[in-house]
């Protein structure tokens, strides 16, 4: 790889869309560079075209959509895109009827109260005329029927059950995967309880590229296409990932330039993660990016999008827990998770 002189090559470049000086690059600094206006437009277009390509809001019905806000930079970006679309700031009107779902993962009551306070502030200026609900990931532990309450964090009474369940899983890799599947369960249960069929999540390209590798390692290769692309139809609702083509770096720069990163909710991360397939994937991608292989994620995602399962189980049967296509009612990964997790999990299958 000859990388030595490309840095100087970029010095003084013009925007690829207009004749202004380039100030920002896409994921790969060798491939595209933009002036500030064109950069912002490029990121917005990626969001918008992910939705229009799949014609998700073509029908007049089913415009009700849960917009997941988790306080991250991608969650903040998603919130503002929906806000701008409703107010027709950037595009022609997007036919979506949003309900914001603030998804909380913190477990201390004081921290949860802090989040509720911040939300009160944020919704004064973003999506101020739509319904907001706050719910904890522990809502995944509810039985099918539960009523969401306003102005408080739903699911707090299930936090100890939830923590107990996660802690009972003895293998770190399976524990992280269990958290991922429970998050989907949580979204599904909340959407169903509100009679909403669509749910937009803020997963960005970096998240999804790592997920694709994780899922290959977990033996779910045949299903990774649905897990990492825009639309993911489930039996009773649809997950939509409109940020699947946008990198974390693009989101961070966009949020900075548009001065919306003030709406992130910053939470200190725990650094004491046990080694798992997922942490190894993170380290692997990190190393490649540090060595300037910027296109890894893009390559993984475009490959993953093409992988489909040709020998699906009879009559489209799906794993009752994680929803991948399998011949049996539970996929082998979920069986393995169940084997190393306490009894609480059986209640959820």
């Amino acid at each position: 790889m000859e990388l030595g002189n490309f840095v100087t090559d970029l010095n003084g470049k013009k925007c690829v869309k207009c004749d202004k000086d380039a100030k920002f690059t896409g994921v790969d600094p060798k491939k595209a560079w933009y002036c500030q206006e064109c950069f912002v437009q490029m990121v917005r277009n990626k969001f918008r075209s992910s939705l229009s390509k799949k014609k998700i809001y073509k029908d007049a019905d089913a415009r009700d959509t849960l917009i997941v806000f988790d306080g991250t930079l991608s969650g903040t970006f998603l919130l503002h895109q929906i806000n701008d679309a409703l107010k027709q700031i950037t595009y022609k009107r997007l036919m979506v009827k949003p309900t914001v779902l603030v998804l909380v993962s913190l477990t201390e009551d004081t921290e949860i109260q802090m989040v509720i306070k911040r939300i009160q502030e944020i919704k004064k200026s973003v999506l101020e005329n739509v319904r907001w609900v706050v719910a904890h990931l522990a809502c995944s532990m509810y039985d099918e029927d539960f009523k969401l309450k306003e102005n408080e964090c739903n699911g707090v009474e299930k936090i100890s059950d939830y923590n107990q369940l996660i802690a009972s899983c003895s293998v770190p890799t399976y524990r992280k995967e269990l958290e991922r599947v429970l998050k989907e369960k949580c979204l599904q249960k909340i959407a169903c309880s509100m009679g909403i069929l669509k749910c937009m999540v803020p997963d960005h390209a970096d998240d999804l590229g790592r997920l694709a590798i994780d899922q290959l390692c977990l033996g779910r290769g045949g299903s990774i296409s649905t897990l990492v692309t825009v639309t993911d139809k489930r039996p009773d609702f649809m997950l939509i990932r409109p940020l699947c083509d946008i990198s974390k770096k693009e989101l961070a720069v966009y949020n900075y330039l548009c001065d919306i990163d003030k709406h992130c909710i910053h939470i200190a991360q725990q650094n004491n993660q046990q080694k798992s397939v997922q942490t190894l994937t993170d380290a692997f991608i990190c190393t490649l990016e540090n060595e300037k292989f910027y296109s890894t994620i893009n390559t993984v995602l475009s490959t993953a999008a093409k992988i489909h399962n040709t020998s699906i189980g009879k009559d489209d049967s799906k794993c009752s827990f994680c929803n991948v296509e399998v011949a049996d009612s539970v996929c082998s990964t979920c069986s393995a998770i169940r084997e190393c997790t306490g009894d609480l999990l059986t209640l959820l299958f």
């Binding site: 840095v7 690059t25 903040t76 939470i267």
Partner: protein, 100 residues
């Protein structure tokens, strides 16, 4: 040794690791971006336990996931760490590591 005035700005969560979000400081003339990283480590970082979220071990580079801008231009389009800082420049650190 002569010094030049610059503004160092922290964003995207990086502001919680330092005294203030935007700071006007004097740095030695002819400093490069790499010199600024050491200046930040030695003078601005207050949360020393989480300094690894901003800089690598010897402050020779930023941590993975931190973006550096000079006057709102990606340093990848300049001379990266060898970019020479001029009087009045704004150096911005945008973190992608926080949130949740």
């Amino acid at each position: 040794m002569s010094t030049i005035p610059v503004t160092i700005d922290f964003s995207g969560g990086a502001e919680f690791l330092v005294k203030a979000k935007a700071q006007k400081v004097q740095i030695p003339a002819d400093s490069t971006l790499r010199d600024v990283l050491k200046f930040v480590r030695d003078n601005l970082v207050t949360d020393v336990h989480r300094i690894n979220m901003l800089l690598n071990d010897d402050a020779s580079e930023v941590a993975h996931g931190v973006i550096t801008l000079i006057n709102d231009t990606d340093t990848g389009l300049l001379l990266e760490y060898d970019t020479v800082i001029e009087a009045g420049d704004t150096i911005t650190f945008v973190s992608t590591l926080h949130g949740g």
